[in-house]
Amino acid sequence: MLRTLLAKDFARARRNPLPWVIFLLAPLCVAGIIGFAFGGHQKEQKISSIRFALVDEDNTIVTRFLRGGLNQGSFGDERRSDVPLEPVLLERGPALAQLNDSQLSAVVIIPAGFSADFLDGKKVALELIKNPTESIKPTVIEEGLGILTAGLEGLARNFAPELAALRDVLDGDPSLEQIGPLLTQAGQKLRSLGPVLNPPLVGYTKAGGATSGNAAGGSGFNLFGHLLLGLAAMFLLFLGGLGMGDLHREIELRTLARYRTLHVSLTPFLGAKVVFTGLMLLLCAAIILGSGTAAFGVTWHRPLALLGLAVGYAFFVAGLMAVIVAWIPDQRRADPVRSMVSLLLGMAGGCAFPPEMLPPFFQMHLMPLLPTHWFASTARAVEYGDAATAWLPVALKLALLGAALLALAAGLFRRHFAKGGRA
């Protein structure tokens, strides 16, 4: 019987696919628009290379040494940071012109006399001009410059005698005989500092267990994928409403009443509708996430975990929507309630935007109670956070909640019919 009922529902959906298509397109369009706005079309969401100019107005052996280091073609490839720097050496005029054309994110100027003053132990300053039309990339350069100046500051304070001697050597005709003792002296100082500096006593690790590595799960962050998981959670609620809301149509068409005149119980009818909705939700989830891959190059690193979560979530959605139908058998009254519930659960569950944007009260007290948050946060953690995130308990919790809601819906239906309500 279940097969007959399912075949009927699938045949009806196949003959009239428009509502399903509309609800399927919605999350893709929304996520697509947001994703494109933030550059989500790139395969993995990373900051593109930061092009900045280095203007050396000092032009000493020290700055030439620095320039040479920056000018290495392999600089970007060998960096340990994820930030791809693309320095270019220019004169002040052309550098500022390119900055005005937004070809550069920033210009760093080493002023004339910088080396001499630095080696003399005088106060020196590098000049930074940021591109006002950009926000993130110039800030990255500024932060980098901050690290560099802190390093130079440490050097100036700890190696003042050596630097003064070095200046004298550089002022004359430098020879290895003069430089050698200086290097030896500096080396001895560094060695004595060694036990103090190494190993570092204070460090940090990336939140989400970066130690587990990328291969096992949580991988390169992808904004579009991150958004799509949340939006999928929200729109699966709407799709679930469409699936279980078909019970309203069965009531309206009087087919449920006709069914109740047969010698069979109501359970298979409701069960078939739940299975139909669940299967449709899984199919839709696959289409939504698959479209993310096909259209925007999102890579899902742990499909099994996502499938498990989706199964549990589909149960929950079917149960929730069944309760709404059983509670409000009149479709015209139920539709706005269903939409509001879906929207509220989606929004408050942090599906439509990053949960951190919600007020602290929501984050601390409300979100942990919402199944939408259980699904979205776990799916996001599985994909972009800690690979060791335990998804199975969450999937089971969702499925159990769904089963409880279905039992409640069945009870409400029985009470409704016993009271002589319209079937």
């Binding site: 009927k8 009806r12 003959r15 068409l253 006709r258 109740r260 005149t261 047969l262 010698h263």
Partner: protein, 335 residues
């Protein structure tokens, strides 16, 4: 028509009708003092009747009379406040599933999946009624043929006319060949030709031994189709019997329509009127009266013309169901 109801092979029509020497069979459907109220409204109030195999029993009444509520209680959609329903002699309440196996219900509204074809609809309901795929397919073909829908079997129901949808709606209740068919106004909103087709089909079911409970507010349908008729209004059964029996309640074949200025008049005060006639309906221009007792129509006509009032015209007619309804309820069913 090749379609036969369940049990045809085991209990053919002739057996049912000629088995007078065998112990009396219980009626296929027995409704006993059925009542149902919705808040303060008594939708059905102590309705009783029986339907035998091979009989069409008509429940005639206007909209809101309680016909659909009665059928809903018989088929288990509503729980009666009081009263009993028995199917084949067994109380419905003790084993609803067994009773439902013997029933086919045709709801007043079209309970069909419009996206599916006629054949898919029929097969679906047949499968749910317990038929295997092969049997359901076979009977679907038979039924579509009998309902003259075979050429549109694969078309979506949403493309059908109202009459065709009604026929599919009827067919969906017949796949499992029920012994008792409950038809709730199956011809509402369709053209006369489609109505005649459906009525003819139902006569065929009766001929094959199916017991039919047929609700309608169309007088002509009740008169031409039903073996016995129950007249209901405001939830109460006012009278029941064959058409002849109901007509005789009004004086058999004699109903006289008197035309004249009857506004404000009180016929019962006319000398000799009350002893021989009773008023069925009175309007400003028309007075419908029934003759009391077994008397010759010509004598009745002479008596009417002898009344001390100015009558412009007198005509004789056979009482219709509407006249019966009018006399029982005080209002015209056609209103």
């Amino acid at each position: 028509m090749t379609f036969r109801p369940a049990g045809h092979d085991l209990r053919p029509l002739d057996f049912v009708r000629n088995s007078t020497t065998l112990p009396a069979m219980p009626p296929l459907l027995q409704v006993d003092r059925l009542s149902k109220a919705f808040a303060a409204v008594r939708a059905v109030d102590g309705v009783s009747f029986t339907v035998q195999a091979g009989e069409i029993y008509g429940l005639l009444g206007p909209n809101g009379a309680g016909k659909t509520t009665t059928i809903s209680m018989i088929c288990g959609l509503l729980r009666p406040d009081s009263g009993n329903v028995s199917v084949c002699g067994r109380p419905f309440a003790t084993d609803p599933q067994a009773a439902k196996r013997l029933m086919g219900v045709v709801p007043q509204d079209l309970a069909l999946y419009e996206e599916l074809s006629a054949a898919e609809n029929l097969q679906f309901w047949g499968r749910l009624a317990g038929l295997d795929t092969k049997t359901a397919r076979l009977r679907t073909a038979e039924l579509l043929e009998a309902l003259t829908l075979a050429d549109r079997a694969k078309d979506a129901v949403k493309t059908f006319s109202g009459g065709m949808k009604r026929r599919v709606n009827l067919g969906c209740a017949l796949l499992h060949r029920p012994q008792l068919l409950l038809l709730d106004e199956p011809t509402v909103g369709i053209d006369p030709q489609a109505r005649l087709n459906i009525l003819e089909f139902i006569r065929g079911l009766r001929a094959a031994g199916t017991a039919v409970l047929y609700t309608t507010h169309y007088l002509e349908e009740a008169e031409s189709l039903c073996d016995r008729i129950g007249i209901v209004d405001h939830g109460r059964m006012h009278a029941e019997g064959t058409l002849r029996e109901l007509q005789e309640r009004l004086g058999g074949d004699r109903l006289f329509t008197l035309e004249g200025p009857w506004a404000g008049t009180q016929p019962d005060t006319w000398p000799g009127f009350r002893e021989h006639f009773r008023v069925i309906q009175q309007t400003d221009r028309q007075l419908v009266v029934a003759a009391l007792g077994e008397r010759d129509p010509a004598d009745c006509l002479r008596e009417l013309l002898a009344l001390p009032v100015r009558t412009e015209n007198v005509s004789l007619k056979r009482p219709s169901l509407n006249d019966v309804f009018l006399q029982l309820t005080g209002r015209d069913l056609r209103e």
